[in-house]
């Protein structure tokens, strides 16, 4: 059996390499002096990164992305906490159906969600701005928040809440002294993942922004200009690094929130 395991091991590492290889192109060509993305490499430069500092539209887009990402992650996490608490703690009619419904955005093609939202907003005569994007992103992020918080709440022993009440605390006191501190890592994980998802999300933003673009929409517009390719790569590199940092942090919090002896996955 160990021969098979050796092949599997080689397969696994090869898989991992191929998985990450394209991403490596980002930093490689961000520092490459040629304006064309191709081999052989021509020389080292930080020019493309420097250019980023002078793009006004980029800074605007960045600011907009920040606003949208922070707002959507907070809103989605709040709603997610409510939904998750409700589903993990109580049993009631219609629970399964309503939850399946709330989780639906996970399996629906984004374009359909985007188009339908756009239709509604147009019919209602509402203008498209950053807040329409926030609404759309929150819808997408909420299911992820719920999944993370489900794990956190499931690991919260109900007898701890009962003990707190038994010792004299009311519902609110129990929430702030026991529940909140113990699910806090889950909340952090949800906020970070939500932020990252919003930051990287393109389709909904593409359909629902008016004149204020987000970062991904800005990047999309750059694609039209071959001369901008290296700059785009540089921007992409930065975005990738930020995402990786946020995701690692989120994973750290998620693991802390889901400490359980049974499963390594949670």
């Amino acid at each position: 059996m160990s021969r098979a395991s050796k092949y599997l091991k080689i397969f696994a590492y090869t898989y991992l390499i191929f998985l990450y290889a394209p991403a490596l192109l980002l930093p490689i060509f961000s520092f490459n002096s040629s304006q064309i993305i191709s081999f052989p490499l021509t020389g080292f430069t930080t020019y493309w990164f420097e250019r980023l500092l002078y793009q006004e539209t980029l800074h605007e887009a960045f600011k907009n992305s920040m606003i949208v990402a922070i707002s959507s992650s907070i809103l989605a996490t709040t709603l997610g906490v409510l939904a998750s608490r409700s589903s993990t703690r109580y049993n009631f009619t219609g629970k399964q159906i309503s939850l399946t419904f709330i989780l639906a955005p996970l399996v629906l093609p984004e374009i359909i969600v985007g188009v339908s939202l756009l239709t509604v907003l147009i019919q209602l005569g509402l203008s498209l701005n950053l807040w329409s994007v926030v609404l759309g992103h929150t819808l997408l992020i909420m299911p992820f928040s719920i999944l993370i918080m489900n794990s956190a709440f499931n690991n919260l022993d109900i007898s701890l809440e009962e003990a707190s009440m038994d010792l004299g605390e009311n519902q609110i006191g129990t929430f702030f002294r026991i529940i909140l501190p113990l699910v806090f890592p889950g909340i952090m994980a949800s906020l970070l993942i939500g932020f990252t998802l919003s930051l990287d999300e393109f389709i909904i933003a593409f359909f629902l922004t008016g004149t204020e673009t987000t970062l991904p929409v800005y990047i999309w517009s750059l694609f039209r200009f071959p001369k901008e390719l290296p700059t785009t790569m540089a921007l992409g590199t930065l975005l990738l690094i930020v995402s990786l940092i946020l995701l690692s942090l989120s994973e750290y919090f998620r693991r802390r929130s889901a400490l359980s002896k049974d499963s390594i996955l949670n």
């Binding site: 696994a12 192109l25 052989p40 409510l82 109580y90 009619t93 374009i111 188009v115 393109f202």
Partner: protein, 287 residues
Amino acid sequence: MKFTFNNDTKKGWRLLSAPFIYSLLLLAAPLSLMFLLSFWTQDYLVLDKTFTLNNYIEAFTQPVYQLLFSRSLTISLTVTLFTVLLAYPMAYFISFYGGERKALWLFLITIPFWTSYLLRMFLWKVILGYNGVFNSFFIWLQVIEEPMTFILYNTNAVIIALTHGWAPFAILPIFVSLEKIDRSLLEASKDLGDGPIQQFFRVILPLSAPGVVGAALIIFIPTVGDYITPKLVGGTEGLMIANMIQVQFSKANNAPLAAALSVSSLMIVAFISIVFVLINRKYLRRY
């Protein structure tokens, strides 16, 4: 469904009401509106609300849409097949040989998913282009003389890019179902005379089938409606239904047709998925 109204019901709904109403307003209502829209017609910017099935007739009879539907399905099914085939050994490796680093492997595998999909698909454009990374690399190594043109701006490119992009996704469900397999069952099968290959086909594969089904659905359903990848690397030959929906919605000012196309895609995808799940249920007893 028994209706039990008690303390739990009150508390449960009190908490669930906000997220539920949010989804109702931002998902159910828009989708319903889109469904309605598919039965109307649009003349430039004016909506004619008389009920008609013309949009659906057009969607299913016009060759251009038929082509897009079948192409989207073909691409998506191909991608599903490839990703699942690649994912299974990977999931198997992590589950049976991952040891203490299972969580780390999973983290490394899934992290790319959380980064910008746009960026990742864009990279394929750069990689597969005429002057792109692949071509220049192989020319530089003198493996080929002329740049390869069959790898970009067609369905091949879309399939390659989608397979790469979605592969990690298929790993997780398969991994979970492999993990659930009671290891003592494997020992029992060995004890009863199975060699490793028989053990795989008689015990491991059947028991991991739910995970494989899950993985297939997770890949199939979203990829049919992908917009970004065909737009970036599909050229004209590789465009998929989502691109047409966007065109009808914006440039062609035919929102009702776009809606009909969207609803049709949803229906087709739902139909195929249900058939797939039912077939599996029939041939694999549920555990």
